[in-house]
């Protein structure tokens, strides 16, 4: 099991921690990863307020939706995806608009739109989304192939699964089966998948701008998350077809939950890391001390923080 780095904070770490409400240890951890960029990184987390929508192209074209919303006073900026937009101005909360209620779009950060693109779903494929609720990535996968994939979406949380069912009904997605249960037990169904998305439960350092409680993550939480992530990785590997693709993502910066788990997948599970970044018009940062994996940082890519890796199960 990987050790969690829990460094002694410097005097400056204590000062930053006090000023912004972090534990000194978390600041010390960030300093190891970011070095000179620490201050601009911390400040970017304080200021981050970008909001994006992903148009549900199963129901409406991007042009039609944007026209409807702009008529009501909303203002948008196109992103690297032709169906995703940044909201620049809301005359009222966009989640109470008629268009939201009609399932014409889903509100999610740009960083959350990346994993389904990395998965690159193809019509006819059987896809597993482990830890799927509340369904932003699942519904995006469904949308990419115009519901031509078969998707099994698993999550253990009753509340989040209920929210996911509501989102699926609102968005009108008909190719997804929801399984409420422990993703580690997916093996029991004896079904093999073409592709798997493991957007792993994590400590959520990357979503600090949305959830400031994440500034005070405890050592034990890192340990328990890493343990769960490895169990989920093992389960995913077991149910993946030979030659199948596993996209591993998190919304945290912690190397133990990211790069260390990829090393585990390669060295212990024998998976192959696919090192080419496939999205041409979006450039992430390199992994931390590991090539062929990617990160997005709030002070660099101007999104919430996230980690991505693409793995292939070797053919027998």
């Amino acid at each position: 099991m990987t050790e969690i780095s829990w460094p002694n904070p410097t005097k400056e770490d204590f000062e930053i921690a006090k000023k912004y409400g972090y534990t000194p240890q978390l600041i010390a951890r960030f300093r190891i990863i970011l070095g000179q960029e620490l201050k601009s990184f911390i400040e970017s987390l304080e200021k981050y307020n970008r909001k994006f929508i992903r148009v549900n192209t199963l129901k409406i074209s991007p042009e039609n939706l944007i026209e409807k919303l702009e008529k009501q006073g909303f203002k948008f900026r196109q992103t690297f995806l032709d169906y995703a937009f940044e909201i620049l101005y809301e005359p009222y909360s966009i989640s109470s608009s008629k268009e939201y209620l009609l399932g014409y779009f889903y509100i999610q950060d740009l960083s959350s739109m990346i994993p389904p693109l990395l998965l690159n779903p193809e019509p006819g494929e059987l896809i597993l989304d482990l830890a799927a609720a509340p369904g932003g990535k699942t519904t995006h996968i469904a949308q990419i192939t115009n519901e031509k994939t078969k998707i099994i979406a698993v999550d253990i949380s009753r509340e989040r699964m209920s929210a996911m069912r509501s989102n699926i009904n609102r968005l009108g997605i008909k190719n997804v089966l929801l399984i409420r249960g422990d993703g580690r037990k997916i093996v029991k169904y004896n079904v093999k998948f073409d592709k798997i998305l493991l957007d792993a439960p994590c400590t959520g350092e990357g979503v600090i701008p949305r959830d400031p409680e994440r500034k005070r993550i405890k050592l034990q939480e890192y340990k328990s998350r890493v343990s769960l992530q490895r169990d989920l990785l093992k389960a995913a590997w077991q149910v993946l077809k030979p030659g199948g693709i596993l996209v591993y993502s998190t919304c945290t910066y912690a190397p133990e939950e990211n790069e260390h788990n990829i090393v585990f997948a390669v060295e212990d599970l024998g998976m192959e890391l696919i090192k080419e970044w496939p999205i041409k018009n979006f450039r992430p940062s390199e992994g931390y001390n590991l090539e062929g994996v990617w990160r997005v940082y709030t002070h660099k890519q101007k999104t919430l923080g996230a980690f991505y890796a693409i793995l292939r199960k070797k053919s027998d």
Binding site: S95, I151, E159, R165, N169, R170, G172, K174, N175, L177
Partner: protein, 184 residues
């Protein structure tokens, strides 16, 4: 001997019986002759009966996995049975509204907004309606942009739809999210 602790709920998914299938088709046909054919094209209906009896609309290819996984949910909820009555859900209503040719009421802009806040529509809110609507009919309520807003019960007087009582509207999605957040 009494058992203690929670029992796991066993989910049994099945295809509709002949009677259930016929009730669902009648409900779809109520909104137009070609609605069942259009709604069901490429899809399969499955029934899940636990405390409630619900019908789900699932893509045909994905439905082949239902019996293996016995899922929590599959595709969208088309509607719910109460005895021999089948009530369409909001997700079901959205699809039906795309093909409906009967029993539709169209609201103006202000009426549309108010309807999604759970209010009834009356008088000047009502822009147009299908001529087959009779007093007390369940109707699909559409916006001035022909978008699905929900279901209502029509009151007809002097051959005019004078009021639509709100049965359920798409604002429910938002209200249920708020309720869920409050309950946590």
């Amino acid at each position: 001997m009494q058992s203690s602790g929670k029992k796991a709920i066993r989910r049994i998914w099945r295809r509709p019986t002949r009677e259930e299938g016929s009730i669902i088709i009648s409900k779809l046909e109520y909104f137009g002759k070609n609605v069942p054919e259009n709604v069901l094209r490429g899809h399969v209906i499955y029934i899940l009966e636990i405390t409630r009896k619900e019908a789900f609309l699932v893509k045909k290819e994905s439905s082949e996995l239902i019996e293996i996984f016995q899922p929590y949910s599959a595709g969208i909820t088309l509607g719910e049975f109460k005895g021999k009555t089948f009530t369409l859900s909001l997700a079901g209503g959205y699809i039906v509204s795309k093909y409906a040719t009967k029993k539709r009421v169209f609201l103006d802009k202000e009426g549309s907004i108010n309807f999604t806040y759970g209010k009834d529509a009356s008088g000047p809110d009502i822009d147009d309606w299908d001529p087959d609507i009779e007093d007390g009919d369940i109707v699909i309520v559409l916006s001035y942009e022909r978008e699905f807003l929900g279901f209502g019960k029509a009151r007809v007087a002097n051959l005019r739809v004078v009021e639509v009582k709100n049965i359920v509207d798409i604002g429910w999605y938002l209200r249920s999210e708020i309720d869920e957040r409050k309950s946590r």
